[in-house]
């Protein structure tokens, strides 16, 4: 049965790359007079920005389109600013075999939607920060001290015990408790320079509020679980790269219906001009009822699904900041 399903990633990345170049060459040669692409002059470009391919001196078009082969899985478009290279990879959810591999490593059931091959990597000769689902899930507590339960859990278990008390046909097993909300303190996997804790190192908002042109943007989900339709847990990443800096936001949003809401934000800010890396971890949390009281209109639960709306109203319970200066 399975041979009917085409295998994903069956072509090696270098073949894709070659095929892509070939395709580009054929299609471009078919168009007789392609007008030169007018690019807005980049004034503030102090640092060379490239996609690892040489650009035409007059019009700025990238000559060889080959995106950089990033991770062994597949090559994806990436961008390079100064010494910083940014790679992103987006893939479908894991298949059954990959899920088995993950579960044998993790020792817990993986979330329903697990984008195990999605990656963000920020790479510098002195520092590398990776974001991936596997590392994030490794930090999910396997035996949490305060196990969250769904709103009707105690009622449910009680009725179960009562019902199956004298029923030898039904043997119940209990799953070893783990944090099924998939809350993780994951802040990315860092190799190279260690970051120094300093809560005063704030991310310069004024620089990020400027509407500088975005050179590169990507967003992806690392994992998502609907908590058996008792809410949602989603770990997602957004990254935007400007000429002078980049901002990465990894956000974990947990909503357990009628129980609680929780947001864990990890922001990585990199100033390319100063070679400065700041990482901020911020946790917000509130009981479900308290936030629900702030909802208005005849569809209040729509607001509870709006992550941005929630993030503006949840009180901050923890902030940690770290930094690293990568002067060469």
């Amino acid at each position: 049965m399975s041979d009917r399903v085409p295998k994903y990633n069956s072509i090696d990345s270098f073949q894709i790359d070659a095929a892509r170049q070939m395709h580009r060459l054929t299609t471009s040669s078919r168009v007789p007079m392609r007008p030169p692409v007018r690019r807005t002059p980049e004034q503030k470009a102090k640092l060379p920005v490239s996609t690892d391919s040489p650009s035409c001196a007059s019009c700025g078009t990238v000559i060889t389109p080959g995106p950089v082969a990033t991770l062994p899985i597949k090559d994806t478009p990436s961008i390079k600013v100064g010494e910083f290279k940014i790679y992103t990879a987006r893939h479908p959810i894991l298949n059954a075999t990959e899920i088995d591999e993950f579960e044998s490593i993790l020792n817990l059931p993986v979330p329903e939607m697990i984008f195990g091959n999605n990656r963000v990597r920020i790479s510098h000769p002195k520092l590398e920060i990776d974001f991936c689902a596997l590392d994030a899930l490794k930090l999910v507590e396997s035996n949490p001290s305060n196990l969250i339960q769904v709103s009707y859990a105690s009622e449910w278990v009680k009725s179960r015990q009562h019902k199956h008390h004298n029923n030898s046909d039904v043997v119940l097993e209990m799953y070893k408790p783990f944090d099924w909300t998939y809350t993780t303190p994951y802040k990315g996997t860092v190799t190279g320079t260690t970051l120094t804790r300093d809560d005063e190192m704030k991310i310069p908002l004024e620089k990020l509020q400027r509407q500088d042109p975005i050179l590169f943007f990507d967003e992806m989900v690392l994992y998502e679980d609907e908590l058996g339709d008792n809410g949602i847990s989603v770990l997602s990443i957004k990254i935007r790269v400007m000429h002078s800096c980049l901002l990465l936001l990894q956000r974990l949003f947990v909503r357990v219906d009628n129980v609680l809401l929780r947001i864990c934000d990890t922001r990585v800010y990199i100033d390319f001009e100063d070679d400065l890396v700041i990482r901020e971890f911020k946790q917000q949390e509130l009981e479900y009822d308290k936030l629900f009281r702030l909802c208005t209109g005849n569809d209040p639960r729509k607001m509870m699904r709006d992550i941005n709306w929630c993030s503006q109203r949840l009180p901050v319970v923890k902030v940690e900041r770290e930094f690293a200066k990568l002067t060469t």
Partner: protein, 352 residues
């Protein structure tokens, strides 16, 4: 909560409005909405039909099984293109028609009309999303208000119909079909037949378990999940159920799988998943299960695997208001870095 809202506006149902099902079908296949009085009338008729059906409906092969759709209307149309349109193909839908996708209203409307038009050839099993509580949390309620206005009763009309949907089906007296799975309270078919199903899905009991539970390969018996509610079931439970009821295997939906289907314990339990690129971002395949006969030979059934329809992606982009199609999402092969930088950049938010 169930009836009161609905009975407030039953004047539609009392007025004998003549409704042309073919005309409705035409509109729905084009992706157009039906008016509220028409939906009301259709649902009234459907209730009359469903109230006579047993909790478990017996169907004969050949039949095509469809798993979760979740409002991915354009993928449902794709299913008909692949599997054949009713009544040329018999369909057994395994539930979860609404929520998450952007076209739950179109999806459930079409299924309602198809059931009315071809009652013997289309069967709709109830899924865990065919419930009032779940639909307020996962999008169907919001979609109803967006499409029919804040004053509309359309959501109560639809959710009232959900209470009438059947809980399970048996194909050729041999294959058991349900949305979720088995329950410690359900050892025999009779214990399903005695359920009073005309109600909101409870948190607890056999009716809840049938739409909620999942198989787990590591298990022998039942297990309570870490969340503190809900079951997973293992091989001993399956073997016993199949043996006691003299069934060959169990077909169910309810769980996303990348390949579009999943086979447990050499086919004793099978998952059919019919929402490709689930939530417009999972990149998963979907399948329908075509059962030709129930002899369980290699060619007596097949999982027909398919990808998301191009219309589905277009509709998604229309809804999220991106205006222009992002080529890279469609075709990785052609995705060049310039596209990503130049095309995608204008639509990105300056998030903080």
């Amino acid at each position: 909560m169930a009836g009161c809202k609905y009975y407030g506006i039953t004047e539609h149902a009392n007025k004998p409005v003549s409704i042309d099902l073919d005309h409705c079908l035409e509109k729905l296949y084009r992706g157009e909405l039906l008016s509220e009085p028409v939906i009301d009338q259709l649902c009234f008729k459907l209730k009359e039909l469903l109230v006579k059906e047993s909790n478990i409906v017996h169907v004969q092969s050949p039949v095509t099984l469809v798993g979760d759709i979740h409002g991915q209307f354009y993928d449902l149309l794709e299913i008909f293109k692949i599997g054949g349109y009713p009544p040329d193909t018999n369909y057994l839908f395994l539930g979860d028609y609404v929520d998450r996708g952007f076209h739950s209203v179109e999806t459930i409307s079409l299924l309602i009309v198809l059931k009315l038009k071809y009652p013997q050839r289309v069967n709709l099993i109830r899924g865990n999303h065919e419930s009032r509580q779940i639909t307020t949390n996962y999008g169907f309620y919001t979609e109803c208000l967006t499409k029919y206005g804040n004053q509309s009763q359309i959501w109560s009309i639809f959710t009232d119909i959900f209470d009438y949907l059947i809980l399970a089906a048996i194909i050729d007296n041999n294959l058991f079909c349900v949305h979720g799975g088995l329950s410690p309270n359900v050892q025999t078919i009779d214990s399903i037949l005695v359920i009073d199903r005309f109600k909101e899905i409870p948190h607890d009991g056999p009716m809840a378990d049938l739409v909620w539970s999942d198989p787990d390969l590591e298990l022998l018996n039942f297990r309570i999940s870490s969340r503190g509610a809900g079951y997973q079931f293992g091989i001993n439970v399956v073997n016993k159920f199949l043996q006691v009821n003299k069934f060959e295997s169990i077909y169910r939906a309810h769980q996303l799988c990348q390949e579009g289907y999943q086979v447990f314990w050499k086919g004793k339990v099978n998952t059919v998943w019919s929402a490709p690129n689930y939530c417009y971002r999972c990149g998963n395949k979907a399948s329908i299960l075509e059962i030709f006969n129930s002899y369980r030979e290699p060619d007596s059934f097949r999982f027909n695997v398919f990808d998301a329809s191009p219309e589905s992606q277009k509709e998604f982009l229309k809804v999220v208001n991106m205006g222009e199609m992002d080529e890279s999402a469609q075709d990785d092969f052609l995705a060049l870095p310039e596209n990503k930088i130049a095309k995608k950049a204008p639509y990105v938010e300056y998030f903080m």
